[in-house]
């Protein structure tokens, strides 16, 4: 039978190992040794990698619908979000889940130079429809991206959205980052 001193020593070793293992895990997550990383922003709580859509006024407050899904609507284009990149990646594969009632043209832009106007655009198209939500995918070459404190700025644009009186509602932004 184990005596209490032995149990205490085992417990102490475990207590010391917890922060050590956590720190190793943090290093692995920051340098992404596996080569790829996934994150998903569902607008319900802050995501450390994907920011909310800004500026306020063009993008409305985050709302919760009757089904418990959170979403953010945009009424004036363009709006922006930041992607935090803990290390250097080659490719970002985005999956947007959104509602676009008037099937308006939507473009996603990645900031490529350190001025405010240089963006590389990709068209966002409704690849599939799941429960009334469009799912669209776009891919970006991050080697061209402009980094500001490890953040990459993205733009969501739908020219003439304000004049159309329509709105575009986003419920999920997923990204797969590949080294």
């Amino acid at each position: 039978m184990l005596n209490i001193e032995k149990i205490y020593k085992i417990l102490k070793t475990i207590l010391i190992l917890i922060p050590v293992i956590t720190f190793i895990w943090i290093i692995d997550r920051n340098f992404v040794f596996s080569g790829h990383m996934n994150t998903s922003y569902t607008f319900d709580k802050n995501n450390p990698f994907i920011s909310i859509l800004t500026p306020a006024g063009r993008a409305l407050k985050i709302e919760r619908n009757d089904f418990g899904d959170y979403s953010q609507k945009i009424i004036i284009d363009p709006v922006y979000f930041n992607l935090y990149s803990p290390t250097k990646f080659k490719t970002a594969k985005f999956t947007f889940t959104y509602k676009n009632p008037l099937n308006r043209e939507i473009k996603i832009g990645q900031k490529i130079f350190n001025d405010d106007w240089s963006y590389w655009f990709e068209d966002l198209r409704c690849d599939e429809n799941i429960g009334g939500w469009c799912v669209g995918r776009v891919e970006f070459d991050l080697t061209k991206a402009s980094l500001d404190k490890r953040n990459i700025k993205f733009m969501i644009s739908s020219p003439g959205l304000d004049k159309s009186g329509s709105e575009i509602e986003f419920t999920t932004i997923e990204v797969e980052l590949i080294k």
Partner: protein, 67 residues
């Protein structure tokens, strides 16, 4: 304390004391890293949980040392 057995009570307080020192050192270390490399730690770990652990175990440790 909840544990009546004196020996068990003694070890229980020793464990709380260890948790306090380990979580305090971890918190300070993580804070210094975060200061120089923003988001390095907080992107993955909730420092508030660590801080609450430091506070609770710290209060128990201080009260125990006073007795």
């Amino acid at each position: 304390m909840f544990i009546k057995n004196e020996k068990l009570n003694h070890y229980f307080l020793k464990v709380i004391n260890d948790i306090f020192y380990i979580s305090l050192i971890t918190f300070l270390l993580f804070s210094v890293i975060e200061l120089f490399l923003a988001k390095f730690i907080t992107s993955f770990v909730n420092m508030n949980i660590l801080l609450i652990t430091v506070f609770i175990t710290g209060i128990i440790t201080i009260l125990n040392n006073k007795q």
